[in-house]
């Protein structure tokens, strides 16, 4: 008989009523005491099933043990050995499909809250770093000086894109003594972390701090640089970059191909979220970039992006927000926790519903969507049951704003400028297990290789590629 295990520690949250009117973080994080109590629930299994579930192989029982011992600095050190963006992963990783899924306690439906603990340690560490900022900054400055004076000697590697994959490869290679320049198309680094995931799930200050950390390792970030336009990959090689890592994400919004998608008030989730997160349209008219959110908003899709869009619309003042998804809640790819948060906030779900056409008024404003009800049929290639339309079940949802969040594809802007880069039939870059592309010296990872995936998957690919890049550069 195993010892009786106490229940999982809840994480405190802003109340749904309060948070649906602000962009502050929903989950407030563990207090020290709660974190220690949660850490003490860990059975420290000798075969460590949780570690196998982590795409970057964090020593999970190790850092949890240190929390239980109240040695948070040591916990942070263990965490950072394998994950240079723990404050981010602790917040956005789908732990329920990864480490926590393999936790032995899951059988009792109460796995260790590995994500919350990761977040606790990362936040503790950054607060401590900040309180100790003076001394740390001076060492970092010294480090940076050391790096910059040696910059001319350190081998140069270019990284295209500053999302989780780009930041990770840059951090890893900088630690190995490379001089890294990240080229980022937008005016702020961070990729989806900056322009996509809203602040109520991932505060921008945290993203900023994690980027600062990477910069302090001696990484240079050049923003407003669209590679493929201002420079080609071959031109980077002629500028003494020894290798190039492509981490441009899957930034091409997909539309449904139905009538009315260009009506006024129809957004891609990318545009909607970019206006709010990158351009800060939630502060309009204090800042210049506008956004239009009507009284009734529908979001098409069932992933994290759809939920983020819906919850953002709610916070911008929408009275009624629908999620329209063609499968059922079972098949929804969004994180379970965020699904629950969305329900608590009053988002309305219309499952088994497929939009057929978008209806506008004479001024071309969107007014409604006509939908068809679906039922679940046989499993499809993804293993999920295929939605099948029910003939004659058409009905209409009235709305003022429609956000399309049905996925993204490979943006061809850069890849089409590199003729000798092999792509798959969907336009994603083909690589081997270590991230090598068909073009010599060019490596790739993250969503532009895998298609839309997760932050941690992008980081895992980037870590493997960093080692491959290191051995490649050493050989040339």
């Amino acid at each position: 008989m195993p010892p009786k295990i106490s229940p999982r520690q809840e994480i405190p949250k802003q109340s749904p009523r309060e948070r649906s009117h602000n962009f502050n973080e929903v989950a407030l994080g563990y207090a020290q005491q709660t974190a220690v109590a949660e850490a003490k629930r860990c059975l420290q299994c000798p075969d460590q099933p949780c570690v196998a579930g982590c795409p970057v192989g964090i020593d999970i029982p190790g850092f949890i043990r240190k929390i239980a011992e109240k040695n948070f600095a040591a916990a942070a050190k263990i965490l950072k050995e394998k994950n240079c963006l723990p404050a981010i992963c602790g917040r956005v990783c789908p732990q329920e499909d990864q480490c926590e899924k393999s936790c032995i306690l899951t059988q009792k439906n109460q796995p260790i809250a590995i994500g919350y603990l990761e977040r606790f340690v990362a936040d503790w560490d950054s607060q401590n770093r900040r309180s100790d900022f003076g001394s740390l900054q001076s060492t970092e400055n010294r480090e940076q000086k050391k790096y910059s004076s040696a910059n001319c000697k350190r081998p140069k590697v270019a990284v295209v894109g500053s999302g989780p994959a780009g930041l990770t490869v840059a951090g890893e290679l900088a630690k190995l003594g490379y001089y890294i320049v990240i080229f980022e198309a937008l005016h702020l680094p961070g990729g989806v972390l900056t322009y996509g995931i809203p602040g109520f799930r991932l505060p921008k200050e945290i993203v900023r701090q994690e980027i600062e950390y990477v910069k302090n390792l001696g990484v240079e970030v050049k923003t407003d640089y669209v590679i493929g336009k201002i420079k080609t990959i071959d031109e980077l090689f002629s500028q003494e970059f020894k290798a190039v890592y492509i981490a441009i994400g899957a930034g091409l919004p997909e539309f449904m191909g139905i009538a009315g998608e260009n009506l006024i008030g129809v957004y891609s989730a990318n545009e909607f979220l970019t206006r709010v997160n990158l351009m800060k349209a939630y502060l309009f008219p204090r800042i210049a970039t506008p956004i239009r959110v009507g009284r009734r908003v529908a979001v098409v899709g069932g992933g994290d992006v759809a939920l983020d869009s819906a919850r953002t619309a709610l916070r911008l003042g929408a009275e009624k927000v629908y999620i329209v998804y063609r499968r059922s809640d079972e098949e929804m790819p969004a994180r379970a926790e965020e699904f629950k948060n969305a329900i608590d906030e009053g988002i309305n779900f219309r499952f088994l519903t497929q939009p057929m056409k978008i209806i506008g008024d004479e001024k071309r404003n969107v007014r409604a969507i006509e939908c068809l009800r679906m039922k679940l049929g046989e499993p499809d290639a993804s293993g999920r049951r295929r939605p099948v339309p029910i003939a004659g079940s058409n009905f209409v949802i009235d709305l003022d704003t429609l956000i399309i969040a049905i996925g993204t594809g490979a943006n061809p802007l850069l890849t089409s400028s590199v003729p000798d880069l092999e792509l798959n039939e969907k336009g994603y870059i083909k690589v081997d297990v270590e991230g090598r592309t068909s073009k010599q010296g060019v490596f790739a990872g993250g969503d532009i290789v895998s298609g839309s995936a997760t932050v941690i998957a992008a980081m895992g690919m980037a870590k493997r590629a960093a080692l491959a890049i290191d051995s490649y550069v050493k050989k040339i």
């Binding site: 198309a185 937008l186 005016h187 923003t223 407003d224 640089y225 669209v226 336009k229 201002i230 420079k231 930034g251 091409l252 919004p253 539309f255 998608e261 260009n262 006024i264 008030g265 891609s268 990318n270 545009e271 970019t274 206006r275 351009m279 800060k280 309009f284 008219p285 800042i287 210049a288 970039t289 506008p290 239009r292 001024k363 071309r364 943006n411 061809p412 802007l413």
Partner: protein, 269 residues
Amino acid sequence: MKILHKKRLNKETTLYDLELPEIAGKAEPGQFVILRVDADGERIPLTIADFDREKGTITIVAQEAGATTKLLSQKKAGDELAGVSGPLGRPVDIIKKSRVVCIGGGVGIACVYPIARAYNDAGSEVISVIGARTKELLIFEDEMRRVSKELLITTDDGSYGEKGFVTDCLKRLLTRAKVNLVFTVGPAIMMAEVARVTRPLNIDTWAGLNPLMVDGSGMCGACRVSVDGKMKFACVDGPHFDAHQIDFEELIARQKMYQKEEKVYASQN
């Protein structure tokens, strides 16, 4: 990102030379930049009206249409801009045609200028038609004259050149000259009219579109337009498209999407 030189062209239009050697090194006719005046500012697209690879500069000409272009006009030579990204969009494929007509309206004259120049350099006979509401607002007359074999000018009020619209002038021109290609940049309504004139005559016609944009790299879809019934992203697939296939009505409606918000912003700032 320094403004090296600034020149007011008329009461609502200003020319700027920007120090951007890397963009100047790559710019081709028909491309544009996305610019932010200050750190939290809007991203606005502006055409590269000229570039000088040796000096490392690009020239932009902005009409003060609203808040951000007005803010830009308050900057002085020597000031820095928060950010400029480019060169964006597809360059125009300059293939020599015997006779090319370049039509610019308003600030669009500065946008069509690099295209007219490129066709002239390629050895085409360039006839340009430029128009403005009134004489005071006509820009780039000398520049256009230099790269055109013939320059026709119209003003709505007849204060300079012929009275009327560029399309009136174009119609007359088409009765006396055989034209292989028409290129037009200006207000959407003007480009739609140009397309209407050339469509029955089957003259290959291209228009430089100006939809709303955000990123300018194909990531958001704000700039989507319908061309031949298909959805295109103007920032990466364009901004120039076959004018006979463009849904101009949709473009015009979409450009007005934030009119209310723009007024709110203007009244508060």
